[in-house]
């Protein structure tokens, strides 16, 4: 390249360049692109020591180097790919090249006249950092997607194993009993978790308690590693790091064993492991917290379920008690009334009139008491029995109740206003008849003596409910008593003036409540009463 008639100074500068070229730390080559016998080749014109060393290493690492080539094929082929374009356009090219475990940034520059300069720089650190970042990103996404501790451990173990090309990956988690949840992946297979164990002076205890990451390039002769254990698991070299959560709490321990390529872990590998460990620790901590919360919640639920079961049991006992008490009361009562009846029969004609009167009282009082027990039974059944909800025609309910009242011999006018166009409601026919029967029965019963009972019934549809009104011309109820009348056994008047058990309205209210409705009264003494019940409207209205 150099002209023969160059000046001395030019030769001196060229010599300086050559010296500079040979002293460069990074591999540098000067190549000529030739057509070759069959295909284009690059022939080295010069290369510095670093490049000679590199091509030597590349040659040693790759056996398939083509014969007759002065450059290893792994280097020649990618250079050839770019050389033509670089010479043609004069624009430099750059690309990444892997050889064995190393990465190089390759830059090609046209020097003119079919000659190119090639500079290589070590890009391994850069490439590895990129890989770590990618792994961290993958892990981050995976760890955020789940709160399942097992899954998180699997992910961490597998991703670190891949990232650092290790044979085994191992995670141990702290628990109050020591360390547990031991993961052990040998070439991708998961070993079952060990029982809880206590960390000792050796790994991982040393890492956990010190607590700093640890690199052991010769596990078998490392004083911090149990030689027996290392031999049994064929551990050659190890990197390990503690798992620290963001709040400074010790979560556990992460370890990788044996580089896959037979090499030895580096300080750089340990750094990468530490970065992954930081993220893994937080994810594990989150999962553990989540597990704790879930556990608390389920414990709470269990307790609620337990209490509910207890309450239900008590309720059932109470129901059974009410049932057997009323049942047990009715049998002797029937005996009393029946015996009195038999005596009454026997004394008829020529008996003692006072004796007959007393027997009649025994029978009457006994029958009242029987009615009372039956009403109480009905009331207790209303609280306990399941009530099936159905669409019920209010008009049919009223007609049935009126029919039953007539059978029972109650007199009075009952006017059902516009019954043919009354809406239907959501409820239970039998229960509603019970409710309406009690309302109508009261309306007919509580009238001033000598007054003929007149009852008016109508409906009034509202937002989601149907209101049924029952108006009477009775004696009315003072405002201070209007709440009392719905209680069991609350009677405002003596049995002498108005017969009854005092449970009718309590039954009505309980029944309406069970159907999801409400009941109330508007009244003034002497002006009659207007009872109302709100019942859920049918949805299709």
């Amino acid at each position: 390249m150099l002209e023969a008639n160059q000046s001395d100074s030019c030769a001196a500068v060229a010599e300086l360049y050559r010296l500079f070229f040979s002293q460069m730390q990074e591999p540098a080559l000067i190549l000529r692109l030739t057509p070759g016998e069959k295909e284009p080749r690059v022939v080295p014109l010069d290369m510095n020591d670093a490049a000679k060393h590199l091509t030597g290493r590349v040659t040693a690492a790759l056996d398939e180097t083509a014969r007759g080539s002065l450059l290893p094929q792994s280097l020649e082929v990618p250079i050839l790919e770019h050389a033509g374009a670089v010479l043609e356009t004069g624009r430099p090219a750059a690309f990444l090249l892997q050889s064995a475990s190393l990465w190089h940034q390759v830059r090609i520059q046209a020097l003119g006249d079919g000659v190119i300069g090639v500079l290589l720089s070590d890009a391994t650190a850069q490439k590895r950092t990129e890989e770590t970042l990618a792994t961290l990103r993958t892990l981050s996404a995976a760890l955020h997607a789940t709160a399942d501790l097992e899954l998180i451990m699997d992910k961490v173990a597998w991703e670190t194993l891949k990232l650092l090309s290790a044979e085994n990956s191992l995670i141990a988690l702290c628990s109050p009993d020591g360390f547990s949840s031991y993961r052990f992946l040998r070439l991708g297979t998961v070993a079952p978790a060990d029982a809880a164990w206590q960390p000792g002076q050796e790994l991982p205890g040393r890492v956990v308690f010190s607590p700093v990451p640890y690199l052991s390039s010769d596990a078998l002769h490392d004083p911090h590693i149990d030689p027996g254990l290392a031999a049994r698991h064929r551990v050659r070299n190890v990197i390990s790091t503690p798992l620290w959560a963001g709040d400074g709490s010790m979560i556990g321990y992460l370890e990788l064993q044996n580089r896959l390529d037979g090499g030895v872990f580096s300080e750089f590998d340990l750094e990468q492991l530490s970065s992954v460990a930081q993220m893994a620790a937080q994810a594990v901590k989150n999962a553990q917290d989540f597990q704790k919360i879930a556990q608390n919640a389920s414990q709470l639920e269990e307790r609620v379920a337990e209490r509910t079961a207890q309450l239900q049991e008590v309720n059932e006992e109470l129901d059974a008690f009410a049932f057997s008490v009323s049942h047990g009361l009715r049998a002797p009562l029937r005996a009393i009334v029946s015996f009195a009846g038999i005596l009454q029969d026997q004394g008829e004609g020529g008996g003692d009139p006072e004796r007959d009167a007393f027997l009649a009282r025994i029978i009457a009082v006994g029958q009242d008491m029987d009615q009372l027990i039956q009403d109480l039974l009905a009331y207790s059944r209303l609280s306990s029995d399941e009530i099936a909800l159905q669409t019920v025609q209010l008009a049919a309910v009223l007609q049935e109740a009126v029919l039953q009242l007539r059978h029972a011999g109650q007199t009075g006018d009952i006017v059902l206003e516009g019954a043919q166009s009354w809406p239907s409601v959501r409820g239970n026919f039998t229960v509603l008849v019970q409710v309406v029967w009690n309302l109508l029965s009261n309306a007919l019963k509580y009238v001033a003596s000598g007054c003929y009972p007149k009852v008016r019934v109508w409906t009034e549809p509202a937002q989601d409910v149907v209101r049924l009104w029952v108006q009477d011309n009775g004696i009315g109820i003072a405002p201070e008593n209007q709440e009392r009348i719905f209680q069991v056994f609350e009677r405002l008047h003596g049995v002498e003036s108005y017969p009854g058990t005092g449970i009718g309205l309590a039954i009505a209210r309980k029944a309406v409540q069970r159907l999801g409705g409400r009941i109330g009264v508007i009244s003034c003494p002497g002006e009659g009463s207007r009872f109302w019940i709100d019942l859920p409207a049918t949805p299709d209205r």
């Binding site: 049998a331 029937r334 015996f339 006994g366």
Partner: protein, 152 residues
């Protein structure tokens, strides 16, 4: 009205109730023999002519069984047993119970009773009920042929 050749078996563990039923039947003029037993096992022995009921002259086979539910379970057990016996499955059974709970009534019919009556609260009402009952079950009702194997 008399149904001399008909026997009624009455099963009731309440002695008072049992007495009222018999007294009421007597008062309304039924002179049909009434055989009263107080326990489930006795009723079974009677119907199978076993033990002290082996004498067919003294303890003739009934044309009607009247039973109390006896706290529900015993009554249902008796009905199930009755309907599982080839010789007895056609025998009319009338429940006479103090319970008017619809669930219990349903169960009694499901176990094979032919009628369910609620014991009235007064003796006078019981008289009316017994009169109607005998008129219907012993008079109007067509009794089935005795199943084969029924003791004669």
């Amino acid at each position: 009205m008399s149904y001399v050749h008909h026997t009624i078996l009455l099963l009731d563990d309440n002695l008072d109730d049992s007495r009222f039923t018999r007294l009421a039947l007597q008062r309304v003029g039924v002179i049909t023999p009434i055989q009263a037993v107080g326990r489930l096992e006795e009723a079974q022995q009677y119907l199978c002519a076993e033990g002290c009921y082996a004498d067919g002259e003294q303890y003739p086979p009934p044309v009607l069984v009247m039973l109390d539910m006896m706290h529900c379970s015993s009554g249902l057990e008796f009905l199930s047993w009755l309907r599982s016996q080839p010789a007895l499955r056609r025998l009319p059974a009338v429940v006479l119970s103090s319970c008017n709970d619809i669930a219990e009534i349903n169960r009694a019919y499901e176990h094979g009773c032919n009628s369910y009556l609620v014991k009235p609260p007064s003796f006078n009402t019981l008289l009316v009920m017994m009169q109607t009952l005998t008129q219907y079950w012993l008079g109007m009702n067509q009794t089935p042929e005795r199943s084969t194997g029924f003791r004669s």
